[in-house]
Subunit: 89 residues, 2 copies
């Protein structure tokens, strides 16, 4: 039961992030993401994944594996590819 | 040690969300947030909080209490207050 709640939580927060990722891949533009946000979020999600693994929580682990893949794509587009529109704010 | 990794994860992903929340409170404008995203994210964060409580994970619980407070503020500004700029996309 509690794993179901965790899985539901993981699906909701992870899937809610997908439209943003799809949009970024489609436009190949990540200029509007703050680099600080990308670095903090990617590092944080990586630590969540490690934490989920060690506490044996499948929902925490899997949700953060998926989010980490998304963050890696955003990072790639932001720093190594994509349009170089360095919008401020 | 593992609680430290979880806490670090929680601090990073939660704090990375703050600038967005501050900006929304300051501008009182949440028109650019998709209502679907707000509802999914708020529900998901609520379930994470419940899940963190039941698996006795302080990092999961506390990070999601803080994020839930932020999401409630965005929800309030989006649906009950703030400028009614219903931008599409």
């Amino acid at each position: 039961m509690i794993e179901l709640i965790g899985s539901l939580a993981g699906v909701l927060t992870t899937v809610s992030f997908f439209p943003q990722v799809f949009k970024t891949i489609k436009t190949k533009s990540a200029g509007d993401f703050s680099p600080v946000w990308i670095v903090m979020m990617t590092t944080g999600v990586f630590f969540w994944m490690v934490y989920g693994y060690y506490i044996n929580s499948m929902p925490v682990f899997i949700a953060n594996v998926v989010t980490l893949v998304c963050m890696c794509m955003l990072t790639w587009i932001k720093f190594f590819s994509g349009k170089q529109n360095t919008s401020v704010e």
